[in-house]
């Protein structure tokens, strides 16, 4: 057996000829399809791949994509962005977060605008940097505004573990970690999107294991294929879905077998379990309240919980989106970005009105960057 080269893990799964061969096989297999396919790719990473590589254009017209809610920045309601801003305005504080979160508009401002006013707000490459910043600034309150789905949650837990080990006492956590299965259930219970197959998330599943989707085919009679993020992965997953439909099956299958197992990363799962527990309620932007769809710190760690320590300055009222923004409807799978009146005009990646335009995984951002499908 040839030993695998690192470059094979990239080029092998992006090979244009392989994509063409898969498109050919899908087109052939689709001739037998009885009903049009409405595939929800739950994760924004897949939306990005579909747009970037123009995969929709290679597929027959009876396959459509419904872009799912798997974009942690997109689903953050405005009141929680206002939390981040309020925390950043505490005297002698340093507010830390990840990625695009810094640019998402809250009710009146964004973290980026507040940073421009002089508040100490930093976007981290890794949550690990929070430990170093806390140790280097013992007189400051260092607050980590933690975001992300199951993929990113264990990293926050690992930082908590290190913080306790090193005896750091000036680091606080505002936890916004959310869960994929309750969101998918909420969309399916709503029923309007008419989804009849799922492409399951790649790296969420590396952590949780594919077992978290096992109930989906039983409950909704929909195939679920857990897919890698490369274009060849996505095309192969679509082929697997079409084959299931033609064979009248609704199963959970793993295409991303080089990285996903049924049980996932049990060490990471235990680390999360140690520090966090399900939150009774969490309001998702556009979707609304979904019970038990997010996590919070356990009571034992209340001394580090920014939501408890700084409760008196955090707004509690829910704040809805700008009335022209249809991000919520897009997150529910009921509209496409180009159905929006302000898409590409008043709302662009440089002047986002809604969160779907901010994140590189947001459907609006992907449509703007790569053109409509």
């Amino acid at each position: 057996m040839n030993r695998l080269q690192l470059k094979d893990l990239y080029s092998g799964f992006r090979d244009p000829d392989t994509i063409k061969a898969l498109a050919w096989a899908i087109n052939d297999e689709t001739k037998k399809l009885k009903e049009p396919l409405k595939i929800m790719e739950v994760c924004g990473g897949h939306t990005h791949t579909i747009m970037k590589y123009g995969l929709k254009q290679l597929l027959p017209s009876n396959i459509d994509f419904i872009h799912g809610p798997g974009c942690p920045v997109c689903i953050m309601p405005k009141e929680r962005i206002d939390h981040a801003i309020a925390l950043a305005q505490i005297p002698d504080s340093i507010l830390l977060t990840l990625g695009d979160m810094i640019r998402v508009p809250g009710s009146k401002s964004s973290l980026a605008l507040e940073r421009a006013k002089g508040y100490d707000i930093r976007a981290l490459y890794s949550p690990l940097d929070a430990l170093k910043i806390a140790e280097e600034n013992p007189d400051k309150k260092v607050i980590f505004f933690a975001i992300g789905f199951e993929t990113t949650t264990p990293m926050t837990a690992a930082v908590l573990e290190q913080m306790v080990k090193r005896g750091i006492t000036n680091l606080y956590f505002h936890i916004n970690h959310v869960l994929v299965p309750p969101a998918v259930d909420a969309i399916m219970a709503d029923g309007q999107a008419k989804i009849n197959a799922f492409i399951g998330p790649a790296h969420v599943s590396v952590i949780t294991g594919a077992k978290i989707y096992k109930s989906l085919p039983e409950k909704y009679a929909t195939p679920v294929v857990v897919s890698g993020f490369e274009p060849v992965d996505v095309m192969q997953s679509i082929l697997m879905i079409v084959k299931q439909k033609n064979e009248h099956r609704a199963d959970m299958e793993i295409q991303y077998s080089r990285s996903v197992t049924l049980d996932g990363n049990t060490k990471a799962q235990k680390m999360i379990e140690k520090f966090m527990k399900p939150r009774e309620h969490f309001r998702w932007r556009g979707i609304g309240d979904i019970p038990l769809s997010a996590l919070e710190l356990r009571e034992e760690y209340a001394a580090y919980d920014a939501e408890k320590i700084f409760a008196d300055i955090l707004p509690t009222e829910p704040i809805d989106d700008h009335k022209l923004c249809i991000c919520g409807t897009i997150l529910k799978g009921l509209a496409k970005p180009n159905d929006c009146k302000v898409f590409g005009t008043a709302c662009t990646p440089n002047t986002p009105m809604g969160s779907c335009m901010v994140s590189s995984e947001g459907a609006c951002n992907a449509y703007y960057r790569y053109g409509e499908i």
Binding site: Y125, M155, S257, R258, S259
Partner: protein, 95 residues
């Protein structure tokens, strides 16, 4: 946000940190979340400064083999179609 990059372990430190090669770029990552023992030369997935899983080389190679077979099948089909088209042209030529 959930994106992750395949990387190769080139060095492992005492404090459970590893130096990895991500397409020629060297970076330090934490191994605190790794469920399995990893060695130099292993391929791992990296997410926000942490190794999150080992890539199963046998599974990756198997997928690549399946794609190779599909490519060959497509090429054969294409060749067959070209030959059939040629045949049709020949037959038309004879009429």
């Amino acid at each position: 946000m959930c994106l992750s990059i395949p990387s190769k372990i080139v060095e492992i430190d005492e404090d459970n940190m590893a130096t990895v090669d991500t397409m020629g770029i060297k970076r330090m990552v934490s191994l605190d979340l790794m469920p399995d023992v990893v060695d130099i030369g292993d391929y791992i997935l990296i997410h926000v400064g942490f190794a999150m899983s080992k890539i199963d080389e046998a599974e990756a190679l198997q997928s690549l083999e399946v794609y190779q077979e599909m490519l060959e099948a497509m090429e054969e089909e294409e060749r067959r179609q070209v030959i059939e088209t040629d045949d049709n042209c020949d037959s038309r030529g004879k009429v």
